[in-house]
């Protein structure tokens, strides 16, 4: 067993946070929640559709997991703060995955708006988990204003390109005094394992699971990849070398030449 992830004093046995976006069916989401063993799943806040069939919240709560509302789709600090407040009112949680997007094509965060929103939400008593660039300086600034974790991207949302800049993720991990959750870019299990090997405290996955050919099987795979990554980090990997280093002894070789 790996130690629990602790965010804002709350222990989570699972280091996998699951995004609910992209699942074709609610039943599939429910089964993926079970397979992932996550305890925290993200939701977005959108206009209600009185004709909508089935309740996302019922599925989530029937699985015994908690919701982490996000501010996806917000491009300004003002909109993100209002969305977080609506989420707090609707879902009775003061936890928020803070997203403030700066560009529609890449969905990369807007650093200035993100920091402004984070500061305001912390002042409002929120537990703020910001989705951020893989920028160590911005991560430090977010921690300084009181964020409960930092969630750097591996690569753009939904891209499945994995961890584009592992050196920056390592820098963020080295300096952080709050949990570091890799958020965005995971494409498959090995990306999640690498995040943990780099020292991240958790991984948030949505598309990698929800848009996999078999979401439930991928949820299972990523759960185990995170476990493997944590164990490998603890085990201490060997240093990379330019040249080979034989593991079989040179001494005692038989003379085989004719």
């Amino acid at each position: 067993m790996t130690p629990p992830l602790v965010i804002a004093g709350r222990e989570l046995r699972s280091r996998l946070l699951l995004g609910t976006g992209g699942f074709a069916r609610l039943q599939s989401l429910g089964e993926a929640i079970d397979a992932s063993q996550t305890e925290l799943v993200t939701v977005a806040m959108r206009r209600i559709d009185p004709a909508a069939q089935g309740s996302l919240l019922d599925v989530i709560r029937s699985r015994g997991v908690d919701v982490l509302p996000n501010t996806a789709g917000c491009f300004t600090a003002r909109d993100a703060v209002l969305t977080a407040r609506l989420a707090r009112e609707a879902l009775e949680t003061d936890w928020v995955k803070l997203e403030v997007i700066g560009d529609e094509r890449t969905l990369l965060p807007d650093a200035l708006e993100l920091l402004a929103a984070a500061e305001q939400l912390v002042d409002d008593g929120f537990v703020v988990l910001p989705y951020t660039n893989d920028d160590p300086v911005l991560a430090r600034r977010l921690e300084d204003v009181g964020c409960a974790a930092v969630m750097p991207l591996g690569s753009p949302i939904g891209s499945g390109m994995g961890i584009a800049n592992p050196a920056n993720i390592t820098l963020i991990v080295e300096q952080a005094h709050v949990p570091v959750i890799l958020d965005a870019g995971v494409g498959t299990a090995s990306d999640a394992a690498l995040a943990m090997e780099l020292g991240c405290d958790g991984v948030l996955c949505a598309s990698a699971i929800s848009r996999a050919a078999d979401p439930v099987a991928m949820a299972h795979a990523i759960r185990h990849a995170i476990e493997a990554g944590v164990l490998a980090r603890g085990a201490g990997r060997i240093a990379r070398r330019t040249h080979a280093r034989a593991s079989s002894p040179l001494e005692g070789m038989p003379e085989l030449a004719e």
């Binding site: 995004g19 993200t42 977005a44 009185p50 919240l57 609506l86 989420a87």
Partner: protein, 67 residues
Amino acid sequence: MIYVNGTPTDAPAGATIHDVLVGLRIDPETAGIAVAIDAEVARRGVWPTHTVPDGARVEIVTATQGG
């Protein structure tokens, strides 16, 4: 006339947030919904008494799938 989730909607003078929800066939007791009036959150406790002014922009939101 008020604007509910972007749609022009008739509402009688003095209609409360509760009245607007009922008019849309949304049970105000439904868990997981929140309301903003002109970009300010209206807490659930004020829905029965808070009147929606003419021209107000009413946003009614709930949780949906998202990453």
